[in-house]
């Protein structure tokens, strides 16, 4: 150690030209990041800017395709979660990794060091208690984690990370679940840690928080580092400007100028998630209504509410002078609605079933006779037509869905609905994990459906996609509608401001 080097100039973590792709999608493009010892460093960017991926590269959960990681002056060749831990990297994800049925102290010591032998409960409890006290909190360490409030769980999570010798602590949106008072406490804790020489990477969308808490801010956009600046020299406008700004590419289909029909579906009394305030809005025939907002803003809940998936009181739909509510997907589908869910593998498709079975699943009645026996020839004919129409690249329609690429799987999930006379199609994240070529094709299919007079509601966390595909954009925050923009008013900055509440 060079004694003349001031502490704050010493780099705890250096990332050089880190790149990472998933399939054909480049999540990180030569990202550079330097985090000093004893500083709180913010990582800022829109949904999908690459923050989470970058974090996972640091923690060893993902392996970078190229680039270099230097921790504490040491070059890490093959990072993995264990190695990262050994190097003193602690990470707190948005979803907690605590085990609800174990006590606080059991959770804190779980997976730390001792692999075999007997546990000294007394010592475990007193050590855990001391640790939490040293953070400035008081939690009974003998309670089960399930009994704690979310904020307390957050503290336990941090205590767990600190029970190891941590030099770099990464927090992903830690304040999202906390109240104002608790956020203050958290900040004080982070200041204390910083003063002890721990480096902290803090990921958040709350500009106010970042400006108050951090020493420096790095802005990511589209998987690239845009800038790193001293927080003292930053303000909200500057940050928003750095986060936005991009050209629409040729991926998107042409939009119609006007809608011939004035028909609309009125949605009322829609309650999504935590908000007590019900939502009301219109969907217009032939229009793609984009739902924007941050992850967790309640957009998926809106679609689920419309489709009758949740057990909350269903939304009221007024359409052609009738008013209906769907209490189950079955009812919604009978009413001519379809939904492409967010999680293709869990909810959209059935990976182990054949492509044929997946496509015909929602319209088996149309390929079966009145006794319910499936006409395999007719079924295969229908499936092949759809496969051709959507240009799904399949070898054999009898092979399992899991054999297809992400883009083609998504097309299969779309195809499932096209054999029905659909009025409304709800699409949640249409191109997540889909490569660029297939993306453009999916966009054109969706636009085509809209042009044929379908009502389309699309949730997207991809700003470019939202701007490129929507005819109108509704922005949500914390389960509430922030505003609606017509295509002429589309403005990335405006949308982002509404989504993070900085307008």
């Amino acid at each position: 150690m060079n004694f003349t080097t001031p502490k704050h100039c010493f780099e705890m973590l250096v990332l050089k030209e880190i790149s990472k792709s998933f399939g054909g999608v480049k999540a990180l493009k030569a990202v550079n990041l330097e985090v000093r010892a004893g500083e709180i460093h913010a990582l800022l960017g829109e949904n999908g800017a690459g923050k989470s991926t970058l974090m996972k590269v640091i923690s060893g959960a993902h392996k970078a395709d190229s680039g270099q990681i230097v921790i504490d002056g040491e070059v890490i060749e093959h990072n993995d979660p264990h190695l990262a831990k050994v190097h003193g990297i602690g990470i707190i994800y948005q979803e907690f990794s605590l085990i609800p049925e174990l006590t606080v102290s059991e959770n804190i010591w779980f997976g730390s060091g001792k692999k075999t032998g007997w546990l000294n409960r007394k010592k475990m409890d007193s050590d855990a208690s001391a640790l939490i006290h040293s953070l400035g909190f008081a939690i009974d360490v003998k309670r089960r984690v399930a009994q704690l409030s979310i904020a307390q769980q957050q503290i336990v999570e941090i205590a767990k990370a600190l029970s190891q010798d941590v030099k770099l602590l990464i927090l992903d949106e830690p304040s999202a679940v906390l109240g104002t008072k608790e956020v203050k406490k958290l900040f004080n804790l982070l200041y204390t840690l910083r003063d002890q020489g721990v480096s902290i990477i803090y990921i958040s969308h709350h500009l106010d928080e970042l400006l108050e808490l951090t020493d420096r801010i790095t802005v990511l956009k589209d998987g690239k580092t845009v800038a790193t600046l001293e927080t003292a020299a930053a303000d909200k406008d500057k940050l928003v400007n750095l986060m936005v700004g991009r050209e629409l590419t040729q991926l998107y289909p042409e939009k119609p100028d006007a809608f011939p029909d004035d028909e609309k579906i009125g949605i009322e009394e829609l309650r999504s998630g935590t908000s007590r305030q019900p939502m009301a809005f219109d969907i217009r025939k032939g229009e793609i209504l984009g739902l924007g907002g941050l992850v967790g803003a309640g957009r998926t809940e809106v679609l689920e509410s419309l489709f009758g998936v949740t057990h909350r009181p269903p939304a009221i739909l007024r359409w052609q002078e009738r008013s209906v509510s769907y209490r189950s997907p079955r009812e919604a589908i009978r009413g001519g609605w379809g939904m492409v869910p967010e999680d293709r593998k869990k909810h959209g498709g059935i990976l182990s079933l054949s492509i044929r079975d997946n496509i015909s699943l929602a319209s088996l009645g149309q390929v079966a006779n009145q006794w319910g026996f499936i006409n395999h020839r007719k079924e295969e004919q229908v499936v092949r037509e759809l496969v051709d129409r959507l240009r799904i690249k399949v070898g054999d329609i009898h092979s399992p869905l899991s054999t297809l690429s992400g883009g083609n799987q998504q097309k299969v999930v779309l195809a499932k609905w096209l054999n029905r006379n659909l009025n409304v199609l709800l699409i949640d994240e249409p191109t997540r994990g889909v490569d660029v070529g297939a993306r453009s094709e999916i966009y054109h299919i969706i636009q085509q459906l809209a042009n044929q007079g379908m009502y389309i509601v699309m949730v997207s966390s991809d700003m470019e996609e939202l701007l490129g595909m929507s005819d109108r954009i509704m922005v949500m925050k914390n389960g509430e509608l922030q505003g609606t923009l017509d295509r002429a008013e589309f403005n990335e900055e405006k949308i982002l401001r509404m989504a993070i509440g900085a307008n």
Binding site: I333, H347, S352, L353, L361, A362, L364, F373, H376
Partner: protein
Amino acid sequence: MKERLLKNNTLIIFLLLLLVSSFTSESFLTITNVTNLLRQVAPIGLISIGMFLVILTGGIDLSVGSIIACVGVAFALLSYEVYFSAGLLLSLLLGVVIGAVSGYLVAYRGVAAFIATLALMTIVRGLGFLLSKGAPVTVGPHSSAILQLGTGSVLGIPLSAILLALVFVIVFIVLKYHVYGRQIIAIGSNEEAVRLSGISVERVKFSVYVISGFLTALAGLMMVGRTGVGTPNIGVGLELDAIAAVVIGGASLFGGKGTVFNTLLGVLILGMIGNIMNLLDITSYMQQLIKGVIIILAVIFQKAQQ
């Protein structure tokens, strides 16, 4: 087709066992023994097919052993009260009702299948003892035709085996060609995706327990037909035999995977193991031991080839 048969491990195990059996005992491939074997496997075959459908949806039915006993007792008692045909129908109805209770608990009340059918297993066993007052009940003379179901033959083929074949063919066709079959398989693969496709998951799950109850009741009548006596303490542990047969047939206990053809092979494999050991005069204690080991080997073989 040829490739698929070669990849079918259950079939390979079955053929191997058939080969070994015919070499180890001269009396194995005799008409008497084969007929006897078919009679033995017919009831467990019916139960296993029902169990297979339940397992396809990701569930399990532990109540089948108790249903066998209860239905047998009920039929014997009914034979003194009502006509033969009415007794048959009411006994089958009893199985359907018990299955419906399990199905209701699992599908509509969200009770774990293991727990719901475990409770039903105890309840129905108790019911059988209550009805019979704990003693075997001999079938009344008006209903002695039931013996045909257990011991009768058509053109030399046991009637019970013909019934099993019929049920097998129906289930095979339904799974391959009917909307309902497609729904059963899809639910076992991904329940949520099926629900979002507008299919009533509850109704399908409910129905497989009803079918299992019905097929088990039919098997219960076959068992009465062998001896002419309804016994309240038979069928203990039968659910495990049925589950074993389904698993040897390569089905996954998590659902969505397996074929009814392989389940039938699983039944025959288990039946053959018991049969050949009887022919070789192996004691029943030893038989249990060997059977368990063979089940483990068969399942490991299944896994290894995947």
